[in-house]
Symmetry: C2
Subunit: 597 residues, 2 copies
């Protein structure tokens, strides 16, 4: 029960999965938040204003076509792609010109507009896959789940399609919490939702999934990272834009070199690529089936400075599991404009600068008389006018004798009359300047990583009863670290086993005890199957054997040392190799293990 | 930034909150899952069938009234309650008869039907609180957020109002994972959603919240708990039904006594009440402001065997933070019926029983010929007929020569003809019997607990600059365990401080380093304010001082021992008292701390 179809007893729903006990532990315990990131936890329910500012209300869509008779819906690009692939595979004698056309269309699918997709579907005479009915023209379908908030239903809400927006809207408070200093990062782990038109591929494309996102805020003039040196010597597979365009293979490069050569745009982006590599391989992802692929120009948003995907190879091909993007100042600027809050940081100027500011000096008495209950609102708004606005108001007052003052937060407009305000030129020295930080965003699709981890850790080996399954999770991420078995059914051994299990639990080590009388080989096989790295077998009253899942080697360990030993190995502090040098091997039992299997 | 209004830069939405870095750590790290519970993680999006079976689609409603002119909505009971309270408070000279009537109405508010509430609102002439317009009759408003799933919008979904249903629908797989044995428990921590009509009281009544729910499945014939003895001697405040009805105070009782006297229905429910007491007090909840209140008969669902709420006193009064209910077999039976899956366990009979079973013996050849591709489906369905169904089919075949066979899972009906099946009386010995388990459900409202924890841990003390705030979180739950300060600005001391901070992080201990040159007293005050229990001050190259937040006492500790010491104290393995006996006091620095504050 690593994962199962959600609500299976009711027939299930496409794109919704439950994690069972072992899957859940992998997911929850082992996303390592390093680097003093500020963790936040925002609601899934998000009001429309936020997602309108971020562009999701308008642009977070897939193109859909509808079976005109049955109403079934399909992704327009999938329909076209499936048709072309199918034709290319099934018709080897296709004329060369047609084959060229199909191949070219297949390659440029991702760039097609709705009109172009529709034209191609018409041109090829593509019909609904199951019924062969006509298809509608492609139309955009927003992938967000909408739900009205509150009893009147007037406030439109959506389930968040990503967790990042919750961090952006809290930028000012996070900056304050961090003492006003850049760079810093914030992280959020939580559910995100996408109303996929046609979920496929199990855990890889789902309607609700766990995202872990980091938004790391930097000064756009200085994207260096203090810890970059710690990852600069890592070597792993990169697939830069140039290699993709010239149809070459990914290249194994030293990270420091890639950043120095500007293949990767900057140190902070490079640092997180390195950290992602370390994180994924520590989980148990095979480093030879992991690559970082740079986005091509047509995949990247216009504002992005550089984007890379960590792709992991599994039985479905190369799957995007982590996105790493330098999104420049786009998000903070978008929310600043839409919310009228200044999401900015400040930096020291190399030397102070003299600035002329044009400021409103309100006549408090006249404003009090004219606006009564609203006087405070008006006074504040006047004081917050910027240079240009103040200049404009002064002009208007001189030409018309009055000027409108719009207050966005309150959505009210007041009429200011001549005499209520005068204007003053102030000369001040400034030693700081404000700017909008850039954001570097690593975004981890936890479900996809777990799925690939399951594939990479899955292995089989021969046994007497036939093939046995083994999950080779590293000890650090294994959901259950250890099993405890009395060798034979015996109250005394049972009691010792229970005591060890209780002590392990006290030390925070997930373990399972199995006091059934089944043969020890069968019990080992069962724990291998769910990926438990260590097994303690209690065979006497003063010592136990510890078995390693991967080598099937065993050692003898004194009773009073076994809990600390398992704790150290589970935390990755000591390896099995090291430990084998300290404790004597237990050969007899190994033989029985083998023969029993 | 413990918590903040969600999407505040857009004006916020009632009932949605973000947790900032310290609040988040309290919430995430410290809900202790003990007792080998099986953790599961199900989607928030839930199809209608599940919530129809659980009763939420029909009954999870509040009664609402609408301002007939403006459309504003109010909870009907709140409108009536506010009116009565207001009248009773503001009119001391109210005639006794009227006062009696108002008081009686106030006491029975929770029992009123829609009609009764409407009648009272009319009788008292209550109008909309703000506009004084007329109010509509009360009508039910479902508190679930609805959203269609998939592109056609035909599958109705809801955001789950609790996490429990995800466990119930997985019962069979969890039972199998547990080796078919009872009792066992499953747990889920996740978001739940309720579209409250009028969210009030900050974190206490919100539209999206974190629930931690345990569903502990037991044999209804044996609700004992193997670990009950470990909590039986706890003494704390219970508020049983009898005391409430006779307007007495809560009573301090030994838990073992309460279960023995049947004040608490059974051992398993008692065990979880005890564990909840231990959990809440370990977090830092004041045991004198915590009580377990039993539900009155009118508060409890008809199927429930017993219910208790852990209530914590805070500035809003006594707040229900944990619900503990024996829900009997209700949930599993409801889902069995609706999904046609048998959610049952089996137990050994005291001795084997001989049963007569009436079984279908299909004629495989004739069925093969008649149903071709469907023959397997039909064969299986025939073999699964129970006694009654087989008897009925036999009758029908004899009278009509044919009988319908409906297969629910496939939603198909086949016509079985005479000769396709014969019936056989089989006498078998049974040593097991099936039954529907009862479920004991502890349900923790994490946001409410955190809110109360903040109140109970908040304290102030005098200082030179005026009053200072202190959060007295126990070390075990404090979001940041330790701060590291160089005593004065000095590259050598900075380097040592950085090294200590890095080692603490490696050991998994959240810490903050402060190398600003601010006075040590100010730095202590700042960490007291966010509840950091320990501060390490680096004042020389071979040793440091460690300060305890609560006593402000300091000790001198050798450099190489300080990380282990903080680790032990953070994990609750050693107390400050114990540690003071081992290391020498550091008196001079204490004086400077005091004088500086």
């Amino acid at each position: 029960m690593f994962f199962t179809n959600s609500f299976g007893i009711y027939g299930g729903v496409a794109g919704l999965f439950d994690y069972g006990p072992p899957g859940c532990a992998v997911k929850a315990n082992h996303f390592v938040v390093n680097d003093d990131l500020l963790e936040v936890d925002c609601p899934c329910l998000t009001p429309e204003a936020v997602l309108r500012a971020s562009g999701h209300v308008e642009k977070f869509t897939d193109l859909m076509v509808r079976d005109v008779k049955e109403g079934h819906c399909f992704r327009a690009d999938h329909v076209l792609k499936d048709f072309l692939k199918d034709a290319l595979e099934k018709d080897p004698r296709m004329p060369a010109a047609k084959r060229d056309d199909y191949t070219r269309t297949l390659a440029s699918l991702d760039d097609f507009s709705a009109e172009e997709l529709g034209a191609k579907i018409k041109e090829y005479g593509i019909r609904a896959p199951d019924t062969k009915n006509d298809l509608s023209d492609p139309f955009p379908f927003n992938l967000m789940f909408g739900t009205p908030i509150g009893p009147t239903g007037l406030l439109q809400g959506y389930l968040r399609p990503e967790t990042a927006q919750g961090i952006f809207v809290n930028f000012n408070e996070l900056l304050y919490y961090n003492g006003g200093k850049l760079p810093f990062g914030a992280a959020q782990i939580g559910q995100a939702f996408r109303n996929e038109i046609a979920p496929r591929q199990g855990l890889l494309r789902v309607r609700e999934f766990t995202l872990a996102e980091i938004e790391f805020f930097v000064d756009p003039a200085d994207k260096s990272h203090p810890k970059f040196a710690s990852v600069a010597d890592l070597e792993f597979f990169l697939y830069p834009r140039a290699e993709q365009m010239s149809l070459k293979d990914p290249v194994k490069v030293r990270l420091g070199h890639a950043v120095a050569q500007k293949v990767i745009n900057n140190e902070t982006l490079g640092y997180y690529i390195g950290r992602t590599y370390l994180f994924l391989t520590a989980l148990g992802i095979n480093k030879n089936r992991l690559r970082f692929r740079q986005h091509l120009a047509n995949e990247m948003a216009h504002y992005a400075a550089d984007c890379w995907d960590a792709e992991i190879e599994c039985s479905y091909g190369w799957i995007e599991c982590v996105g790493l993007a330098d999104r420049s100042a786009y998000d903070l600027k978008a929310h600043s404009t839409a919310s009228k809050s200044n999401l900015v940081a400040s930096r020291d100027l190399p030397e102070p600068v003299v600035v002329e500011e044009f400021a409103a000096v309100p006549n408090r008495k006249e404003i009090g008389v004219a606006f009564k209950a609203n006087q405070k609102l008006v006074l504040e708004a006047l004081q917050e006018l910027n240079n240009e606005e103040a200049l404009e108001m002064q002009k208007k007052l001189e030409s018309d004798g009055e000027a409108p003052l719009h207050i966005c937060n309150a959505d009210k407009t007041f009429t200011i009359k001549k005499g209520m305000v005068t204007f003053n030129k102030q000369v001040t020295k400034k030693s700081k300047e404000k700017f909008t930080p850039s954001v570097i965003e690593p975004s981890f699709g936890i479900g996809r990583i777990i799925y690939c981890l399951f594939e990479h850790c899955f292995d089989t080996r021969g046994g007497v009863d036939g093939q046995l399954n083994v999950f080779r999770f590293p000890a650090l991420v294994a959901p259950v670290k250890c099993t405890v078995f009395p060798l034979v059914q015996n109250p005394k051994l049972d009691e010792i086993a229970r005591a060890i299990s209780a002590k392990l639990r006290e030390a925070g080590i997930a373990n399972k005890i199995d006091t059934t009388g089944r043969s020890i080989g069968r019990r080992y096989a069962r724990t291998d199957e769910i990926g438990v790295p260590f097994a303690i077998t209690v065979d006497s009253e003063d010592g136990v054997t510890v078995r390693d899942r991967d080598s099937k080697d065993q050692i003898r360990v004194p009773l009073e040392e076994v809990v600390d030993l398992i704790a150290d190995m589970s935390a990755g502090k000591r390896s099995w190799k090291e430990v084998q040098g300290v404790y004597p091997a237990h050969v007899a039992a190994k033989a029985s293990d083998e023969s029993d299997e």
